[in-house]
Amino acid sequence: MTALPLRPGHSGRPRPQRLREMSGRAGWGIVAWVVAIAFFLPVLWMVITAFKPESAAETWPPQFIFKPTLSEFRLVFSGMGPFLTHSVVATVGSTILVVLLSVPAAYALSVHPVKHWRDGLFFFISTKMLPIVAAIGPLYVIALHLHLLDSIWLLIILYTAMNLPLAIWMIRSFMLEVPRELLEAARLDGAGRIREITGVILPIISPGLVSTALICVIFAWNELFLALNLTVTNAATMPMYLISSVPQEGLYIAHLSAAATIASVPVILVGWIAQRSLVRGLSMGAIK
């Protein structure tokens, strides 16, 4: 019953199998790091260029050592105000609307499904397959008649429609993972439908909800086509500010990089921080 001591040398000396394993692991690690850095390089280069003075940005060979300056960032910040506001309002507004609409809809397609839930879900997904670009002319005319052209409301409405199908699909997948016994137990405890959603389902799927909202935020924040076609000044968003930062002549690469960095950074940071949630949303939510 007394613990037998391990034979000396057996645990101390690394064994050939271990060595092979460790070197194999290191090999894969190096490959992965090289690939990842190469993949990340454009982003890195964008940020580096943003800190250059304009004169150092367009040189051959490209300069890697320079005196960093914030002057381009200052310039970008100075004109950014209204664009930023529009982007935030359109992104946040549409995301809230998406969540409000998609939670009940996902519920009706999963927990207590309507009779033709399959058709319903297919319909939502199929609207995603109709290219919005095909209707851009008439959309313009409709917006014109409804006096919604160049209005932030128009973007909120359209971004909501753009993200709704994916949100319903994802939230539905998360709801399917809620254990049935839990819902039945809530039923037996006298919970109605509303209580079932707010008291049982929402707390369980809240991580999924976060990742869904996150993906909606990414797509809404980054959207250019609709904004470019349907807004001018009153609702112009960050991507449009980015375009406007490209002048017709003169040196502009550092300025452009600074603007691109600032426009991208909010979503990149949110994405990095909420990475697990994002991964889950994109993958698990999308398929299971």
Binding site: E58, S126, G137, A161, L242, A260, W272
Partner: protein, 314 residues
């Protein structure tokens, strides 16, 4: 009991309610669906109906005359228009190439990320970043700091390999645009495939080891079939987004040189914004939609398979 029951079908002792759910219950089920359904019908279907209507009208923004019915002449123009056909083909080429290559890269990256190594979390963070970059920003940064013939980083990095100041956006416009699209969508594919890899039960992989399968055989015989629904989903979602790709085309090449990178979205954008031809663009849009529906029908079948997979895996 068994003997007694052989004569006739057993009659239930209790009168059964009619099958299915009651009408009241049915509406209770439908109610939560309605807001989203009505919303999506109004916002996405009405514009398409209006598109259909305009496709039979002659209507130019820059002409004061009101819209008037001209029958199928917009469609005749569309079908005889080489520019439309060209943009259609380019759209297919762009979407297919970028989705497939992004998926192949995504599979490779996912296999890498599925292994344990030092700093795996950081590597994953780096790899997903391109997906988070604003497409407009990505397009501009690639067009300028990365690909510029005179000061672009890529030419500098390739100089040791005998590449000298290539004007990528003029000489390899379509390829350059596709590269940027692949760069942005590979992370998405990686994450989906990675989820698939990590959902593969470890005991079947161990069983394969014991059964004498090497790494390659295991991947080909077991992992790939397991990944199939994940790969299909990635391709499907990627196609849905990339068929609408506009930012890279508009900001990197503006459809050019000539029409070398003009895809459908950019073509329609030009029709509305520069030719002011609402009717013509609407007809082109309708044709696009019909073609999309044909493709989407196949895509939806794929979705149906994903459903089967979902049900089968519980």
């Amino acid at each position: 009991m068994a003997v007694l029951e052989t004569g006739a079908a057993p009659t239930p002792k209790v009168a059964l309610r009619p099958r299915g759910v009651s009408r009241r219950e049915g509406w209770q089920r439908r109610l939560p669906l309605l807001p989203a359904l009505i919303y999506i019908v109004v916002v996405t279907q009405i514009p398409f109906l209006v598109t259909l209507w305009y496709s039979f009208q002659s209507y130019f923004f820059d002409v004061p005359a009101p819209a008037h019915f001209i029958g199928f002449s917009n469609y005749t123009t569309v079908f005889t228009n080489a520019a439309f056909r060209g943009s259609l083909v380019r759209s297919v080429v762009m979407t297919a190439t970028s989705v497939i290559l992004a998926m192949l890269l995504g599979i490779a990256f996912a296999v890498l990320l599925d292994r344990k190594f030092l700093g795996r979390g950081v590597v994953r963070t780096l790899i997903i970043t391109p997906f988070l970059v604003m497409p407009a920003a990505a397009a501009l940064v690639w067009a300028g700091p990365m690909l510029d013939p005179n000061f672009g980083l890529l030419n500098y990095l390739l100089e040791p390999f005998g590449v000298h100041h290539v004007a990528w956006l003029s000489t390899h416009a379509l390829g350059s645009v596709i590269v940027v699209m692949i760069w942005q969508w590979t992370p998405f594919m990686t994450l989906i495939v990675l989820a698939g890899l990590q959902s593969q039960p470890s005991d079947t992989l161990e069983a394969a080891k014991v059964d004498g399968a090497g790494a390659l055989a295991t991947f080909r015989e077991l992992t790939l079939p397991h990944l199939r629904p994940y790969i299909e989903l990635g391709i499907l979602l990627g196609s849905i987004y990339l068929v609408n790709a506009f930012d890279a085309v508009r900001l990197m090449t503006n459809g050019g040189p000539g029409t070398a990178t003009t895809n459908l979205p950019f073509y329609l954008y030009q029709q509305v914004n520069f030719a002011f031809d609402v009717g013509g663009a609407a007809a082109a849009g309708v044709v696009t939609v019909i073609l999309t529906i044909i493709v989407a029908t196949f895509a939806l079948r794929m979705f149906a398979r994903v459903f089967q997979f979902e049900e089968a895996s519980g």
